[in-house]
């Protein structure tokens, strides 16, 4: 149990506070907007302090001396840096800082970060962009996470009708693909229920599966799930914010043609000035005429990433009706998520989960990667087996793990293996684990 001060109760800050508080940490939120603070205080079991993150008095009122961690996640770089500086000088051990300026995050800013004592840099926009990119590369998937430096990939997707594995049991499949197991089914969500499956579980069409696989097997997994893999050549980005900018840059590097639509003319101008590849269109993303004129139906993927959930959803639906192959919506209200697939949007994600994962990982210490899903409770952790713990040297099948935990993959010296009952764990192995949130602490205990 740790005492954490979260500076900034914006989208990222409130979500981080919520997650940390649910895991049982003491959370204090510092925010200068009274209304936002009141709302948060009413909703979560956290202490709230009114004031700016740059004010030493507000921070000390929040208990800076006793704090183990300060998470500065306002949307202003300078405020975050000052908050971290104050925290470091007050003797707080670790700080997390949200930085949007590329230079400050990169090598050029290393010295500044060291002086200020920033331990972890967050950039929700960049992380969201990265996640969307993964979704586009693995089209048809609803979640994608790369773990263990990309050696292991976690694919979440709905099982298509007519896919080769529909109607088969897991043990049946296991037999077929033994002994080279390159993938493993981690969780299955059917209806509202998410389970960590056993061997006798039978797969049905429309099941939402999360599969952990080796990098080289990703094509095979997508094919087994019934998803087509075609080249990505044209992508439309609806919304020209910073996330879009980062995403566009990555896509252009891959040789993808990018069209960006944004409502704000100055923003369009700025975007177009700064980036050579993408074609920037000024217009409202929910303007159907505009979208038809720009041939939205002819795109391989349409990504809606404005700040407005309803616009994003509407635009994606319209794109889909025009024939766009893949639609991805960014939504900020998590409660909307279950609806989206129902109505035909291929994938949806929330920027706050992406950044919150980074903080959670940091708070948990040894856990180096975490993926949480928008629907269903399960989390995927990447953790390290420590010397002398229960897991060190143990055979997986014999390890006493709670019911809701499944070891997915073991990465040893950079080589990934899908875990089997007779696999043996060694210290310094990276282990990918599926777990329900209530047993996360137990997992940490087992692996150290």
């Amino acid at each position: 149990m740790k005492r954490v001060i979260v500076v900034g109760a914006g989208e990222v800050g409130s979500y981080v506070a919520e997650r940390l508080s649910r895991e049982g940490h003491d959370v204090v939120v510092v925010e200068q907007h009274r209304r936002r603070l009141l709302e948060l205080g009413a909703r979560l079991d956290v202490l709230t302090v009114l004031g700016s993150g740059t004010s030493p008095s507000a921070l000390s009122e929040a208990g800076l001396e006793k704090a183990d961690l300060v998470v500065a996640v306002t949307n202003v770089d300078e405020v975050n840096l000052v908050a971290c500086l104050i925290a470091t000088q007050a003797g707080v051990e670790r700080t997390v800082c949200r930085l949007q300026a590329k230079e400050l995050r990169g090598a050029a800013g290393a010295e500044v970060r060291r002086q200020i004592g920033v331990d972890l840099v967050l950039d929700p926009d960049a992380e969201t962009a990265e996640e969307i990119l993964q979704l586009l590369v693995y089209r048809g998937a609803s979640d994608i996470a790369e773990m263990a430096a990309g050696e292991v990939i976690l694919i979440g997707a709905r099982l298509q009708e007519g896919a080769p594995i529909v109607g088969r049991t897991l043990s049946d499949l296991g037999m077929e693909y033994a002994p080279q197991w390159d993938f493993l089914f981690g969780t299955i969500t059917r209806g509202d229920q998410t389970i960590i499956p056993r061997g006798d579980h039978r797969l049905e069409a429309h099941d939402l599966l999360r599969v952990v696989c080796k990098r080289k097997a990703r094509g095979e997994v997508l094919q087994l799930l019934g998803l087509e893999r075609t080249a990505l050549s044209k992508v439309m980005l609806l919304g020209g914010g910073r996330t879009a900018e980062l995403l566009a840059e990555r896509l252009v590097q891959r040789g993808v043609r990018v069209v960006v639509v944004d409502r704000n003319p100055d923003r369009c101008e700025e975007f177009a000035q700064r980036h050579v590849g993408p074609l920037v269109i000024h217009g409202d993303i929910t303007d159907a005429d505009l979208l038809v004129e720009e041939d939205v139906g002819g795109f391989d993927a349409v990504v809606a990433l404005t700040g407005e959930d309803d616009a994003n959803i509407l635009a994606c639906l319209f794109a889909k009706s025009q024939g766009a192959k893949e639609t991805v919506a960014v939504v900020h209200r998590l409660s909307l998520l279950p609806l989206l697939e129902e109505i035909g949007i291929d994938a949806a994600l929330s920027p706050r989960t992406a950044s919150a994962n980074g903080v959670l990982r940091f708070v948990r210490g040894d856990v180096t990667a975490v993926a949480t899903f928008l629907e269903g409770e399960a989390e995927v952790l990447e953790t390290v087996v420590h010397d002398g713990t229960e897991a060190d040297g143990a055979i997986v099948a014999e390890l006493r793990l709670p019911k809701d935990v499944l070891i997915g993959a073991i990465v040893r010296d950079g080589n990934a293996e899908i875990a089997r009952g007779r696999s043996q764990l060694r210290s310094n192995d990276h282990v990918i684990v599926f777990a329900m949130p209530h047993v996360v602490d137990e997992v940490k205990r087992v692996f150290g």
Partner: protein, 519 residues
Amino acid sequence: MTAGTGARRRPSFADGHEERLDQRRSVAAVGMAGVAGVSATTAAICLVVELLTGAEEWLSFATTLVLAAALAAGLGLRYRLPPVARTTALLVGVVWSSLLACGLVALPYLVSGLLDPDAAIFEAVAGVTTTSATTVRDPGELGHGLLLWRAASQWTGAAGVVLLVVVALPQLGIGGLDPGGVVTRSARRVAPRASAAIRRLGAVYVGLTVIAGIAYVAVGMPTFEALIHALTTASTGGFSTRAGSLGAFDSAAIEIVAIVVMAAAGTSLPLAWRVVRRREFGALWSSVEFRMYFLVLVVVAVVHLAGNGVDDGVPTGIRQSAFASTSAISTTGFEIQSLAAIDPGAAAILILGMGTGAMAASLSGGFKLVRVMAVYGFVRRELVRQLHPGLKASVRVGRSALSEPMVNRMIGSISLSLGLLVVGALVLSAVDPALDSSTAIIDAVSIAVTSVANAGPADVGGASLSWPAGLGVVGRLTSSALMLVGRVEVTPVLVAAGLTSERLTVLVPRRRPNRQLDR
């Protein structure tokens, strides 16, 4: 949906892609059906004329009639216009329709065997684009049917362009119109509904043609020739029935009729409708573009007169200058004196006038005066801006302010046309043996200008060359291409050719990552 087909999650959405392809196809198909229908009707009329007058070439028209009718029926029955069409679909439709028009017009020439294939194509393109250049050295040798067919191709070609520019596709910005259809008074739409606008403009066009015909007959032209010349004068086409063009009649009265009709055809049709129908004669003069049109006509005539002199007496000199000036600016291309025969300075100003063209939304070719005026306004503003760097002022033509995108579009289209001219002249001078002598450089340039402007006469270098009859196959095809691109303009052609957005936006290698931003 059964297992094994690999269906997407929501099969109902999968139709969108099909629809998109279908839309593009159906717009082109409807346009082509229209073209085929008009061609079939014209062919039927020509067939009747041919049968009545001598029946030598009835087979050509019968073939064309059958083919065009079949095409029209086939395409027309199968495709319907989609409720909403994307700009690309429209542009592709325009390009395909005009190509089909050229093909169908060339058909009787080919079947009759009177023209070589390249000459037939040239003749057809010249007809459809209302350029007066012809490969037929003596049109008198053609039968009545073919003469009518030639003239009718110009008349319907001009009608097609007006239909396109004023009514159907004002948003394409062809012919100097802005997306809203309101640059100046002259280009304002005359009726809220497109069908009504078509009727009204059609009435003006037909009216002008009929009046021209009657006037020609009244001043002593034979009836059939009067019909042909009425069709080609009102459309600013410029095909004639005689070898020496209109000069062959050697009649002052005929020339004066032609001057009036050509000048009228160079006037904006919507403006003409308002003047004639609503008796708003003041509207004519209150249109700043019309005032400019009149001024340009006079100035060019005066310069021509100054250069050419009045050797044959003052009235003749004035008449000749007025004729040359109106013929050039309205891009009709009738000639009473060859360009090579007159003073070089006068020839230069005439070629310049052909490039400029007459009013927007008229039947003429060229850049259109309104664009020239817009560019002048733009330059003026830039000059003033040097004096007052913080200046915020819009470019104006007369009293109406032009939006920045529109000004940019006009200037862009002029740059593109200039580029087309340069490339065209270079290709012509390089590929055609007739244009490769060291003195032929001016002929290559003037052929390029008059082709792109859809005017016609271009023999400035000397009597040695007679365009286009003196050109080789490649030269004829090149100038055909220039005429066609000049008529539908460069931008639509580029877009329809698929040369769009990303490739043109930046003109940088796509796969070069921006390293500066990567850091």
